[in-house]
Each structure stands twice: as C-alpha cells, then as structure tokens.
C-alpha cells in the first residue's frame, strides 16, 4: 500500500499528514485493477489484439442499441444477433 508523506499541491511544497492511499483493488475487481495499472500504450495494444478473437466469435461491428442516445432511431434496421435470435424475449407476462 502506498503512503504519501509529502505531496505538492501544485503551488507549494506543503507537508501534509500521512495518507494511506486507496489502491485500485479497493474500487474495482482484480482484473480491472490490473487494467488500470497498465501503461496506456500497453492497454491500447492489448485492446487491438482482441480484434481477431472478437471477429472470430461473430462479434458485431454495429453499436449496441442505445435508447438513451439522442441519435437512437427505434425504427432503424439492425442486424440480428450472431445466434440469429433476439437476446431476450418475453415468454410470459405476470399479472402485474
């Protein structure tokens, strides 16, 4: 765990109380914490390396429908999912 003993606030070399710094693992799971710690250029390279697998698995290049987006058009044509069926269908509705 990191401990800051003297931190520059950008204006002066003030001396502040010892602060136990929060590690990424306290905020996110281990996988994300590891991603956070990577050098940005390495993150970029890792992400680019996912492309062949993404495409091989039938990943769609269309954006996911986003009803929150001001650009969302409910009537727009969209490709079917890779398995040919909508991800969720209503099979039965409850009484309420």
């Amino acid at each position: 765990m990191l401990v800051a003993t003297g931190v520059d606030d950008g204006r002066s070399r003030a001396w502040y109380p010892r602060v136990v710094m929060i590690p990424p693992e306290a905020l996110v799971d281990d996988e994300w914490a590891e991603w956070y710690r990577l050098d940005p250029a390495v993150r970029w390279a890792h992400s680019q390396a996912l492309w062949p697998s993404f495409l091989a698995l039938g990943g769609s290049l269309d954006p996911e429908p986003d009803p929150d987006s001001p650009l969302f058009d409910a009537q727009a044509w969209r490709p079917m999912p890779a398995d040919g069926r909508p991800g969720v269908r209503v099979l039965r509705r409850g009484g309420v």
Binding site: G10, A41, W44, L61, S69
Partner: protein, 226 residues
C-alpha cells in the same frame, strides 16, 4: 475521441467503432473524403455528410467496405456540448504511436471527460473510470492542472475524500464552486454522493435540452421533410 480513447485512458477494454472529432474546414473535409474513398466507406443513416450539419452539432456515420476494415463504423463530430472548440482540443491532444508506427491523436483525458457528460447511462460509469484511472496513476506526481482536474471531476467519493486530504489548499478553493468537494472536506460520504447525483442530473438535463432541436431535425430528415 470515443471508445478508443477510453481504452487508452483505461476506462474501457475494447471498442468496436471509431469516433472522430473532426475540424469541419473545407481543406480538412477534403482530406477526410479522400480517406473515406481509401476505406471504401459509405455514409449510413442520417444526416447527410454536409459541413452545416457538423457545425450544428450533429454526428455523421459511415461504414467501411474495404476488405481490411470491412464493416467498421466511423462516426464523426465537430461540435460537442460543453467541449472546447476544435482548435483548443487539438492543442491539448494526446498523440500516441502504435506498434505499427502509426500516430494517433486522441482527445485529452480532460476533454474526453467533458464529452462524456451526456444523457446516456453508459457514459457516466465511463466518465468516473476515466478520472479514477488518471488520479490513481498520477496522484504522486501532482501538478496544479492535474489537482484541479481531479478535484473538479472525481466522481468516486472515497477518492475525492483522499484528494482533499492530499491537496487541501486547492480543495478549499474548489469547494466554493463544487458542493461535492465541500462535503469531501467534511468527510461526508453520503452528502458527496448526493451532490454528485445532482451534478449528473443537471448535466443530463442540459444535454437533453441541447439535443432537443437536433433530434427534431433528425426526425424531420427521417420522415423526408427536409
């Protein structure tokens, strides 16, 4: 400017499309048209590829047909709500070199955070991670600019509390304009969360107001009335 930049800055692991912030000048649009030709890209959906739409804040969408980029979506924008004009974005950009030796220019993380203050649910967790990652990676190398960015934009309460302890002088100043920081100075986690929810609500509402006339314009285009 979108998902790819979020990958670089650590807030996302993958992005399937390419979002570009583009200077809508004629010489630059000519260069972009040449790139579209190389990529065998065609415009999809609305609005049409007209600089006037870009300057009014619309996004224009393309799909590549070139075998090396088949199906890839490219979305371009020139004006974004709450985001600095293109000249300032360009001045502050981050430039990276890929393993192939190509240079890619990205929005600065601070500008990307502004661009993510939208009405969309999915942008807010992304925005929080962008600032969190930047803070976690740089808190031991603070500059005045960085400290102000963190204190103004951090949206994780425990990190904001840590930041006001580390940078109390700037925190007291910024607390005058940001309630969440004032509550962080008092170590009041619940009040911080509440203040941040208010911030988010205000930004979402402002984004909805900003987009209302643009949405109407898109609707008119969809129904062939323009």
């Amino acid at each position: 400017m979108g998902g790819q930049a979020c990958v670089f800055y650590g807030a996302a692991e993958f992005s399937r499309d390419t979002d570009l912030a583009l200077l809508a000048s004629e010489p630059n649009l000519d260069r972009f048209r040449a790139a579209l030709t190389d990529l065998q890209a065609e415009r999809i959906a609305i609005p049409p590829f007209d600089p006037a739409y870009l300057q009014r804040g619309h996004a224009i969408h393309f799909r590549c047909q070139h075998p090396d980029a088949a199906g890839i979506r490219i979305d371009i924008m020139s004006v974004m709500r709450g985001v600095a004009p293109f000249d300032a974005l360009w001045e502050r950009r981050t430039t990276i070199e890929t393993l192939d030796g190509e240079e890619v220019d990205l929005l600065s993380v601070a500008d990307l955070v502004q661009a993510k203050k939208t009405q969309r649910d999915r942008d807010w967790p992304m925005l929080r991670r962008l600032v969190d990652v930047h803070y976690l990676a740089n808190r031991e190398q603070p500059t005045l600019e960085r400290v102000d960015f963190w204190l103004t934009e951090l949206r994780t309460a425990v990190l904001l509390i840590e930041a006001v302890v580390l940078f109390p002088g700037r925190a007291l100043e910024i607390a005058r304009g940001r309630a969440a920081v004032a509550h962080a100075c008092a170590n009041a986690a619940e009040a911080i969360e509440s203040a941040m929810e208010d911030e988010e609500r205000r930004e979402r509402e402002a984004d909805r107001r900003y987009w209302a006339p643009l949405r109407e314009e898109l609707e008119r285009l969809r129904h062939g009335r323009e």
